[in-house]
Symmetry: C2
Subunit: 599 residues, 2 copies
C-alpha cells in the first residue's frame, strides 16, 4: 500500500471519529509566512508534494491537492501513484478548493481544519461559503499531530542580537515609534504575528527556519510592556536582561492565545488579518475593539534607515564579488569539469558563504538550464539535475542573508552562441529592467503604476511574464517583504506607495516553455529627487552589482539612453568589485564590463 494511502486511511478514521466530512490542510504554519519549518510541512509529509503553495482537501471518497500552474508538472510527478488528485487552480482571490467544497458538501456537513495554520482572511472566505450552505467549520481540528510519529521537532536554536551598527536604530527608539503610531491609530495593543516584524522591532534574529533569520514568536505590544511569546531557552541571557530593562517580558510561545483573552475590556487592538491565524484571532475576546490593517512594524521597516542604506552598499559589493567569482568560474571551468545545476548551486552558495557577515541563502537558489529556466520557480533536484553543455542559456537567481542586508539577484547568461531570438528576448527584458530602474515619479506613486515600465517593450513584441515585476526586500529579514510591491494586483493603498527608503526588486522576464527562460533582476532603492512647482519627485538607484551578459544583447535594439545606462552601470560594477577580485577575475570582469554599443 502506498504510504500516502496509509496516512489518508488514518486521517479518514480520525475524521469519522470526530464527525468531520471534509478535512482541509493548508500549506502554512502559525505565522503564515513563506518559508515554513519541517515541523509544519504537513502536505509534504502526507502527499510527498514539496511545492510552496497548495491546499489538500480530504473527504471520505476523495483527496485532492489544489495548486497553481507553477507547480503543475512537479505535483503531477510527486503525486503519481498516490490517490491524491492534482486539482489545477489559479492564484485568484477565490480559492478553488472552497468552491469545490461548496459544490461537494451537503448542508449541515462539517469541515475540519487546524485553525492554527489558517489565516483569518482565508477562514473568512471559507466561512462565507459555509454560512451560505449551512456547513459547520471546526477550526480546532488537528488530525495530524496524533498520526505523525516521526514529526521533526521545532528548532531549539538560539536567537542572537542584531546590534545597532547593523540595525541603525535601537529597540527602545523603535518601540517609541511603534507606540507613537499606535496612539495615532487609537489602539492600546498591537498583536504581531509575523516573526520578521518582531525581529525588526526587537533587534534580534533567529535560526528557526531556512532562508530567513527568524525566531518563531508572537508579540503583543502594549503602552508600557511588550509580551514576547517565544521559547525562553532560545533567548540568550544577555538579551533577556536588555529586554527586561525595556519592559519586554518573555512568555512561553504557546501562551499568546491565553494572554490575548486577558486584555483590558474596551481596549483597541491592531491586528493584520493576512498574517494572523484563525485560532489566535478567535481567542481575542469580543470586548476588545479590533482594528485590522497592515502591521505598524511592516510599514516602518519597509523604509530603510540611513545606517541600513549605508551598510547595504558594502553588502552589495560582497554579494557581487561572490557572483563574479561564480560566473568567472563557470567560464574558466566549463571545458574542464562537468558542471550541473546542482553542482553550480552548491558552488554559488559556497562562494556567498565565504563573504563577511553572511548567514544563509535568502531563498532556495535557482540554477536553471535551458528549458528549466522557463519554469519561474524551478529548483534543481537530483531527479531534474542537468549537466551544462555548450550553447545554452543558464538562469541563476540567488541571494544571501547577511547581518547587514538581504540580497536577491538574477542573471541569465549564455554559454556559447545565443540565437537571434534569445538575444531579442534578452534585450527586451533588459530594456524593461532599465526603464523601471530609471523611473522618475511623483511622491505618492503606487507600486502598480510603475509595473508597465518593465513590460512595455515585451508587450510591443507579443511577449509577457506571468508574475509581478517587483517585491519589497527585507534587511537581514525576509527576501519577499511587504507591504509594497510592483504588481497590478496591488491597489491604491497607502502601504503600497513607493516611498524614499524602500527597496524593491526589478525583475522582468520571458519564459519560452520547453525552450529557455530569461530573467534579469536587480534591487532598487527609492530616493527623493528634486522638488518642482508640480511637487516632489522620487527616483531609484540600482544597488545590485553584477555584470549583465553582453553576448545576449542585441545592441541595435537599445537606444542611446539605454546604452549609456548599461555602460555606466558596468563601469560602476567594475570599479566597486575589482578591488576584491584576483588578478584573473579582474581582467575577466574588465572585459565583461567594457564599454559597448556606443553609436
Amino acid at each position: 500500500m502506498h504510504q500516502t494511502s496509509e496516512k489518508l486511511a488514518l486521517v479518514r478514521t480520525l475524521m469519522e471519529e470526530r464527525g468531520v466530512d471534509a478535512y482541509v490542510i493548508p500549506d502554512t504554519d502559525p505565522h503564515l509566512g513563506e518559508y515554513i519549518p519541517e515541523h509544519w510541512q504537513i502536505i509534504k509529509w502526507l502527499s510527498g508534494f514539496t511545492g510552496s503553495a497548495g491546499t489538500i482537501v480530504v473527504t471520505a471518497e476523495f483527496a485532492g491537492l489544489w495548486t497553481d500552474s507553477r507547480y503543475f508538472l512537479q505535483a503531477e510527478k510527486q503525486l503519481s501513484g498516490s490517490e491524491i488528485t492534482l486539482v489545477r487552480t489559479d492564484l485568484t482571490e477565490n480559492p478553488g478548493f472552497i468552491q469545490w467544497l461548496s459544490k461537494s458538501l451537503q448542508s449541515h456537513s462539517r469541515i475540519g481544519v487546524n485553525g492554527q495554520v489558517l489565516s483569518v482572511s482565508m477562514f473568512r472566505k471559507l466561512k462565507r461559503m459555509a454560512d451560505e450552505k449551512k456547513i459547520v467549520i471546526d477550526i480546532e481540528c488537528d488530525l495530524i499531530s496524533p498520526l505523525w510519529s516521526d514529526r521533526p521537532s521545532l528548532s531549539r536554536e538560539q536567537a542572537f542580537d542584531h546590534p545597532v551598527s547593523f540595525s541603525g536604530i535601537d529597540r527602545n527608539q523603535k518601540l517609541t515609534r511603534v507606540r507613537d503610531e499606535m496612539v495615532k491609530q487609537n489602539v492600546e495593543f498591537h498583536l504581531l504575528t509575523s516573526p520578521d516584524d518582531i525581529m525588526w522591532l526587537l533587534n534580534i534574529r533567529g535560526k528557526d527556519i531556512k532562508h530567513s533569520p527568524l525566531l518563531m514568536s508572537f508579540a503583543i505590544i502594549g503602552m508600557e510592556q511588550v509580551l514576547l511569546f517565544a521559547d525562553e531557552e532560545k533567548i540568550p541571557f544577555i538579551i533577556a536582561r536588555e529586554f527586561d530593562k525595556l519592559g519586554i517580558v518573555i512568555l512561553p510561545y504557546e501562551e499568546a492565545a491565553g494572554m490575548l483573552s486577558t486584555l483590558r475590556s474596551g481596549s483597541g487592538i491592531l491586528i493584520s488579518p493576512a498574517s494572523t491565524s484563525a485560532a489566535l484571532y478567535s481567542s481575542i475576546p469580543g470586548r476588545l475593539k479590533v482594528k485590522e490593517d497592515v502591521s505598524i512594524p511592516a510599514r516602518l521597516k519597509a523604509v530603510k534607515n540611513s545606517t541600513e542604506i549605508s551598510n547595504l552598499s558594502g553588502t552589495m559589493i560582497r554579494d557581487g564579488v561572490a557572483l563574479t567569482k561564480f560566473f568567472f568560474g563557470i567560464e574558466r571551468d566549463k571545458d574542464l569539469i562537468p558542471m550541473s545545476e546542482l553542482s553550480l548551486t552548491a558552488r554559488i552558495d559556497h562562494l556567498r558563504s565565504l563573504q563577511e557577515n553572511y548567514l544563509t541563502t535568502s531563498f532556495p537558489t535557482i540554477v536553471a538550464y535551458n528549458e528549466h529556466a522557463a519554469l519561474p520557480h524551478y529548483t534543481a533536484t537530483s531527479e531534474t539535475d542537468t549537466v551544462i553543455s555548450d550553447d545554452c542559456i543558464l538562469l541563476v537567481d540567488s541571494g544571501g542573508q547577511y547581518l547587514d542586508g538581504t540580497t536577491d539577484i538574477t542573471r541569465t547568461i549564455c554559454l556559447g552562441k545565443p540565437t537571434g531570438k534569445q538575444k531579442a528576448d534578452f534585450t527586451f527584458v533588459l530594456k524593461g529592467m532599465i526603464s523601471l530602474a530609471q523611473a522618475v515619479f511623483p511622491s505618492g506613486t503606487y507600486g502598480h503604476q510603475l509595473d508597465i515600465l518593465a513590460r512595455k517593450y515585451l508587450w510591443e513584441h507579443g511577449l509577457n511574464y506571468g508574475h509581478g515585476t517587483g517585491h519589497g526586500v527585507g534587511y537581514c529579514l525576509n527576501v519577499h517583504e511587504g507591504p509594497h510591491r510592483i504588481s497590478i494586483k496591488s491597489g491604491n493603498d497607502p502601504s503600497n506607495i513607493i516611498a524614499p527608503g524602500i527597496l524593491v526588486s526589478d525583475e522582468p522576464a520571458v519564459y519560452r516553455e520547453g525552450e529557455y527562460g530569461i530573467r534579469t533582476e536587480n534591487m532598487l532603492l527609492c530616493y527623493e529627487d528634486e522638488e518642482t512647482e508640480f511637487g516632489k519627485f522620487n527616483r531609484f538607484i540600482t544597488i545590485s552589482l553584477c555584470y549583465i551578459d553582453k553576448s545576449l544583447i542585441d545592441f541595435s535594439l537599445l537606444d542611446r539612453n539605454e546604452i549609456t545606462w548599461l555602460n555606466k552601470y558596468h563601469s560602476e560594477v567594475f570599479e566597486k568589485l575589482s578591488p576584491f577580485l584576483e588578478q584573473d577575475e579582474r581582467e575577466w570582469l574588465r572585459l565583461k564590463t567594457q564599454e559597448a554599443g556606443v553609436l
Copy 2:
C-alpha cells in the same frame, strides 16, 4: 439685501417649519449625470455659482459651498457679497461636507435633502456618518420647489429616431443582448436611470439638455416588457408604434418609483448605485433581490460596433475639416480682425455646425488664452474674455455631437514665437500622447495600467497634471462615458478593461499657473492586434484628425520613432482632410503637415 440672502432666509424659514437643522443641496439632477437642465440648477439659482461640481449646506447660522480646486477662483468671485462661504475641498472619496456635518451637528439633529437628486452612493456615505452620530436624514425634503417661482420648466422637445444606419444594431437585437446578460446575472429586472443607457438601448435621441442628445427618462427592463418612463408627448407617434411592437410601454416620467414598488416579489433587479437616486432606490420594495453593478447597457455600449466604427471615420473627417478651417482662419485673420476667446468660441462652434449630421457641441467649448489655459476647466465668460494677441498660447478643447458619433479634441497652438520652456512643455506632452497612442498591451489590461505612458516624460522633467489621462467617449451620446477610463483612480474591475472596440481619449497636459497651459488630446480606438504564445494583444488607432502645431515642438527631444509617428499622422491628416478644403486652406494645411524633424 443680497438676492442670495433673501433666498437663504426663505430656505431657513422652511427648514424651521420642517424641523430640519441642516439642508443639503447636491449639484445634480434625478439622473445624476454630468450636464443638467436649468430646471435642476438649484445651486446656481441660490448662490450664483455656475461651476459643475459643488454642494451647498445650509444651517441656521451657516451656509457653505464645498467645491474643489478647479472652481476656487470662480466660486470666490461668484459668491462674493453673498453670505455663502466657499469651503475648499478636494475630490476624495469622503466628501468634506459630510465631515463638516458630523462635527457641526448635535446628536438627534435632522438633515434634510431632496433624495431625488442624491445618489445612493452619496446617501450611504451620509447615512454612515448620520448613524454614528444618531442623526436623522429626511430624504423627502424639497424646500426649493416652493420658493423658486420663476423656475425654468423641463424641456418639451421631442425625441427622435436614431436609425440603424447610424446605430448599427436595431433595438430588438440590443434588447435581446441585454436580456441575455440579465439571465446570466440572474435578474428578472434591470432599472436604467442614465438616459444615455436608454438612448443607446432604444435607438432614440432627445434634446432635453445641452451638449448631449438625451431624452430625460428612466426604464425598467423586464423579460417581456420594457417600461419607459418619459413624457409621452415627447415620443413621436412613429417611434411609439415601433416601441409598441417590441413591448416597450411608455409611462409617465413621474411613475418610475410607483412602478418599482409593484414588481414581483422575490425577483432580482439590477441597479447602478452611482446613477440611481436615493429616492428611487428607497421605492424598491424589500422583497426584491437587489444586485448592484455597472448597468448592462453601459458595458455594452462602451464597445462600439462595426457600423459605429466605420461611421466614425467620416465623422472624424468632418470634425477635422471644421477644426482646420478654424485654425486656418485664425492665422489668416489675426492681423486683420480683433479676436477674443468668446468670438473664437462662436467661430469654432459655427464651423462645426455647418458639418453634415451635426447636432450640438459635446461640452462647453474651451478657447483659453495664455494663463486661462492653465485652468483645465476654463470656459470664457464676458467677464474673463480676452483678446488674442501675438506671441501667445491658445488652447482649444472642443467637440461635437453628430448623428454618427461624438468628438472631443484639444489642440494647443502658438501665435507668434514660443519660448524654449513652452516648446519643451509641449514636446513632453506630445511624447506622452504618442506613447499612449502607440501602446501595445495584452488582452485584459486595465485602463489604470496605461496611465503612466502619458506621464512618464513629464515626470522625468518634474512636470505632471492633476487629472486623469483618458475618458471613454459615447457615440452620439455623452462625451464622458464610462465605465472604463485611463486613470489610476480606476481599479481592477472588469468594466475598466481596455477592450477592442472601446474609445478613449488621450490627453496629457501641463498647466503653468498664471502663465499658460498645454494639452494635446486625441481619441483612440482599441483594436485587436496579434495573438502570440503569450496571448492576445491589443493596440490603439488614433481617430481624431487635426494637425499638431510643429512650431511648438522641440524636435531634438523627439526620438526617431516619435518623429515617424508624427509625420505619418500628419500625412494621414492631410490626405483625409484636403479633399474637403478650399485651395488656400489646403495649401496652408500642406505646410502644417509637411514632414519635419527627419534625422
